[in-house]
C-alpha cells in the first residue's frame, strides 16, 4: 500500500477508536438545584447554588464521576424557589418532568423544603437537603432523601450541656418560638439543664418583623433570671442584645442566632455585644476550619467575588456525597440504589463541614448527617471560637429514629 494511504488509514483508525472510546466512556449527568436565589432567603440559597456549581466544576476538572465503565461530567441547572412552598414544588416538578433530572440539591429553607419532601418519596429521584432546619424533614423515613445539616435540637442538646456546666440555674428564653425548630432547640436545652437542677423560667416570643423587644425584656427583667437565652434570626435578635443592655440587664446572654459581626454592628455597639455567646453548628469558621474549609473559602471568594456564607458548604458537601454514592453503585440512572448507597458511604475526603459519623457513615438510617457544634463568644468586636460543644451523634440519631 502507498505510504500516504497507510498514514491515512492509520489516522482514520485512530480517530475511529478515539471516538468510539469517547462515546462509550464520557456522558453528561445533569443535576438540579432548587433554592432561594432571590428574595429574603437568597442569603442562604444563593451561596448554596454557587457552592454546588463550584463543586461540579471541580469534579469535572478532576475527571468527573466514574460509574462502572462510564465517566460522567456534571451539568448544573438551578431554579429559584424564592423560599416559597408553591414555587419550590413548581421548580422541582420542572426539574423532574421537563428537564429529566434525577438528583436535586440545595434546599436552604424549611417551608419550601417540606413542601418538596412531602412528594419526593413518590419520584424516581434523590433529594439532598442543605440548610433547611425543620426537624420533621428527616423523621418521615423518606428513603430517597438525605440532609447534610443537623436538626436544631441536636445543637440544642449540646448547648444545653454547655450551659449546664456554666452553672446558671434560672434561664429566661426570648425567641422566635413560633418556629418549630427554634422551639425544639429550647426544649432540648431544657432537658439538659434540668439534669443539673436548672429550669427555664420564661418563654417569651418575638416575631420576625418585631424590632422592639423592650416589653418582653421588661417582663423578663422582673423575673430576675440568672441568664437569658435568645433564639432566632439575627435581624430581630440583635435588638434583644442591645435592648437588654439598655434596660440595665447585666446577666450572661446565650444565643442561637448565627449572624456576622457586620449584621450585629448595624444594630448594636461592640460593647453592648461583649460576652454574648452563640451556641450553634460550627459550619464554616476559618479559625477552626479544616484544610478543605480554608481552600473552599479561598476558591469561592476568588470565583464569586464574595465570601461564602457559613452554611453554604452544606450544599458543597452534597455534591461530593452524591459522587461517592454513584461511584459505589456503579450506575448513575438507578436512583433507588444511589439513595441506598448514600446511607452507607463514609464521609468523603473532600467535604468542608466537620461531620460526626454514626457507625462510620456520613448519613444515619434517617438520612441525617451530623456536623460539629461550637461555642462562639463575642470578644472585642469579633466572634471568637472558644470550644467545641459536646455532641453525641449516635444518641441523637437513635432519638430521631423514634420520632414521626
Amino acid at each position: 500500500m502507498p505510504k500516504h494511504l497507510l498514514k491515512f488509514a492509520g489516522t482514520a483508525l485512530a480517530l475511529i477508536l478515539a471516538a468510539g472510546t469517547a462515546s462509550a466512556a464520557e456522558k453528561k449527568l445533569t443535576i438540579g438545584v432548587a433554592d432561594a436565589l432571590t428574595g429574603g432567603g437568597a442569603v442562604y440559597g444563593l451561596p448554596q447554588a454557587n457552592a454546588v456549581k463550584m463543586a461540579a466544576e471541580e469534579i469535572n476538572a478532576a475527571g468527573g464521576i466514574k460509574a462502572g465503565a462510564d465517566t460522567y461530567k456534571l451539568d448544573v441547572i438551578a431554579y429559584d424557589d424564592k423560599a416559597n412552598p408553591t414555587e419550590a414544588t413548581n421548580a422541582v416538578r420542572k426539574l423532574i418532568d421537563r428537564d429529566g433530572v434525577k438528583y436535586i440539591l440545595g434546599f436552604c429553607c424549611s417551608g419550601s423544603t417540606s413542601a418538596v419532601a412531602s412528594f419526593i418519596g413518590n419520584e424516581k429521584a434523590v433529594m439532598l437537603v442543605g440548610n433547611a432546619a425543620e426537624r420533621s424533614i428527616t423523621t418521615k423515613k423518606i428513603p430517597n432523601l438525605v440532609r447534610t445539616r443537623p436538626p436544631a435540637d441536636y445543637t440544642g442538646a449540646a448547648a444545653g450541656t454547655f450551659i449546664a456546666r456554666k452553672g446558671q440555674k434560672r434561664i429566661a428564653v426570648l425567641g422566635a418560638l413560633d418556629v418549630g425548630f427554634y422551639a425544639q432547640y429550647v426544649d432540648s436545652v431544657e432537658r439538659e439543664i434540668k439534669k443539673v437542677g436548672g429550669e427555664i423560667i420564661a418563654r417569651e416570643v418575638f416575631s420576625l418583623k418585631d424590632r422592639d423587644m423592650s416589653p418582653q425584656l421588661t417582663k423578663i427583667r422582673g423575673l430576675n433570671p440568672d441568664a437569658i437565652l435568645v433564639v432566632g434570626y439575627v435581624e430581630p435578635a440583635a435588638f434583644v442584645y442591645r435592648q437588654a443592655v439598655e434596660l440595665g440587664m447585666n446577666i450572661p446572654r446565650y444565643g442561637f442566632t448565627s449572624g456576622s459581626e457586620e449584621q450585629f454592628l448595624r444594630v448594636t455597639t461592640s460593647e453592648q455585644m461583649e460576652g454574648v455567646w452563640d451556641l450553634r453548628p460550627t459550619e464554616l469558621t476559618l479559625e477552626s476550619a479544616s484544610k478543605n474549609g480554608v481552600a473552599y473559602h479561598a476558591n469561592y471568594t476568588k470565583k464569586y467575588n464574595a465570601s461564602p456564607s457559613p452554611s453554604s458548604p452544606y450544599a458543597y458537601d452534597q455534591v461530593y456525597a452524591l459522587k461517592a454514592a454513584i461511584e459505589t453503585v456503579g450506575k448513575a440512572e438507578d436512583t433507588d440504589a444511589v439513595a441506598k448507597a448514600l446511607r452507607t458511604i463514609p464521609v468523603p475526603a473532600q467535604v468542608v463541614m466537620q461531620y460526626q459519623p454514626v457507625d462510620g457513615k456520613m448519613f444515619d438510617a434517617n438520612g441525617q448527617g451530623y456536623t460539629s457544634n461550637g461555642a462562639f463568644q463575642w470578644q472585642k468586636g469579633k466572634w471568637v471560637f472558644v470550644e467545641e460543644l459536646p455532641s453525641d451523634s449516635k444518641a441523637y440519631s437513635q432519638f430521631l429514629s423514634t420520632l414521626q
Binding site: G39, T89, S114, S118, F119, D178
Partner: protein, 314 residues
C-alpha cells in the same frame, strides 16, 4: 357584542382546556395548569366582591387558608372521606366570612379593604401560633390526594369545578342579586335610598366570594399535599386582586384569564423580586388609570371594531 358569539367562544375555550392534557407532552405544564384552574376559582370569588360589588377585599388568600386547613384537619382528625372534607371546606369558610364580614361591611370602601387586610394578617398569625391545632409554621405534609395523585384526573376535576363555578358566577351576575350588587358598586347611597338593605347583599357577596376561596384552598391542599401558613398571606391576596384587574374586573372571562396570567407570568418573566414588585405595581396603577376594563375589555373593544357597522347598531 351579541350573546351567540360569546357562547361559542366559551365552548371553544372549554374544548381547548379539555384537550390540553392530551396535547401537552411536558407534564410540568399540566402541573401549572392545575394551579391556574385553582386560581380561576379563587379569582372568580374575588371578582364577585370586588368587580361586581365594588368592595376591594384583601383576605382572599386567608380564606383559601381556612378552606385548606379545614379540609386537611377534618380529614386528619375525623377521618372523613376526601369528598366530604373538600365539600365542607367552603361551608366552614362561610362561617368565618360571616364573622369577619359583619364588622367589615359596616364601613365603606377604603376602611373595608384595610379591615379585610387586618383579618388576613390575623388568620396567618393564628395559623402560625395556634400550633397545637395547625402544626404551626412547619406546616402539614402528606395530605391525601385523590386518585393516588394522578395529575390528569385532578386536572379534569379542577376544570369541572372551575367551569361550574364560573357558570355560577355568570348566573349570579345576571340575577336580581347580581344587579343589586352592580348597583351598589355604582352608587351605594342610591341603593339604600330606594329602600334596599344594601348590607345584606354586600354580606352575601362577601360570603360567596369567601366560599369560592375556601374551595380553592381545599383543592390546593389535596393537589400539593403540603400546606403551611406562609402561602396564605397578604401577598397572595394581592395576586387575587391582580388577577381580577388584569383580566377584567366585573367580567366573567376576566378572572379566568387573569388567573392563568398570574400563574404563568412568573414562569415567563424571571426577574429579581424587587423588579417584579415594581412591574406588578405599575400594571395595577396603569391598568386602573387607563384600562379599567382589563384584557377582556380590550378584547371586546377590538372585536367591536371589526364587527360590521350594521351588526353593532342593529
Amino acid at each position: 357584542m351579541t350573546g351567540i358569539p360569546t357562547r361559542i367562544l366559551w365552548v371553544f375555550a372549554l374544548l381547548v382546556l379539555a384537550a390540553l392534557p392530551q396535547v401537552l407532552s411536558v407534564k410540568y405544564y399540566l402541573h401549572l395548569s392545575i394551579l391556574a384552574l385553582i386560581w380561576v376559582v379563587v379569582a372568580q370569588g374575588q371578582n364577585l366582591i370586588q368587580g361586581f360589588t365594588g368592595y376591594v377585599s384583601i383576605v382572599q388568600a386567608g380564606f383559601m387558608g381556612i378552606g385548606a386547613y379545614s379540609s386537611t384537619l377534618i380529614g386528619l382528625h375525623f377521618h372523613w372521606p376526601l369528598w366530604a372534607t373538600i365539600a365542607i371546606a367552603p361551608l366552614i369558610t362561610a362561617l368565618f366570612a360571616l364573622a369577619t364580614g359583619y364588622p367589615s361591611l359596616r364601613v365603606k370602601g377604603h376602611y373595608f379593604a384595610i379591615v379585610t387586610l387586618a383579618f388576613n394578617l390575623i388568620i396567618v398569625i393564628v395559623l402560625v401560633n395556634y400550633s397545637e391545632l395547625t402544626r404551626g409554621e412547619a406546616g402539614i405534609s402528606n395530605i391525601p390526594k385523590p386518585w393516588s395523585g394522578d395529575r390528569e384526573a385532578y386536572y379534569y376535576f379542577a376544570l369541572t369545578l372551575a367551569a361550574a363555578l364560573t357558570l355560577l358566577a355568570a348566573m349570579t351576575a345576571r340575577s336580581r342579586v347580581g344587579e343589586i350588587m352592580l348597583a351598589i358598586r355604582q352608587n351605594e347611597d342610591l341603593v339604600a335610598a330606594v329602600g334596599i338593605a344594601a348590607w345584606k347583599y354586600k354580606l352575601f357577596a362577601f360570603v360567596i366570594s369567601a366560599m369560592y376561596a375556601g374551595l380553592g384552598g381545599a383543592l390546593y391542599a389535596h393537589f400539593q399535599g403540603f400546606i403551611n401558613p406562609e402561602i396564605f398571606g397578604v401577598a397572595q391576596s394581592l395576586d387575587a386582586i391582580l388577577a381580577v384587574i388584569l383580566g377584567g374586573s366585573g367580567t366573567i372571562a376576566g378572572p379566568a384569564i387573569g388567573a392563568f396570567l398570574v400563574v404563568f407570568l412568573p414562569e415567563l418573566l424571571r426577574f429579581a423580586d424587587g423588579f417584579r414588585l415594581i412591574l406588578y405595581g405599575l400594571i395595577l396603577v396603569l391598568a386602573t388609570i387607563f384600562m379599567p376594563i382589563g384584557i377582556v375589555g380590550i378584547a371586546k373593544s377590538v372585536a367591536a371594531r371589526f364587527t360590521p357597522r350594521e351588526a353593532r347598531h342593529g
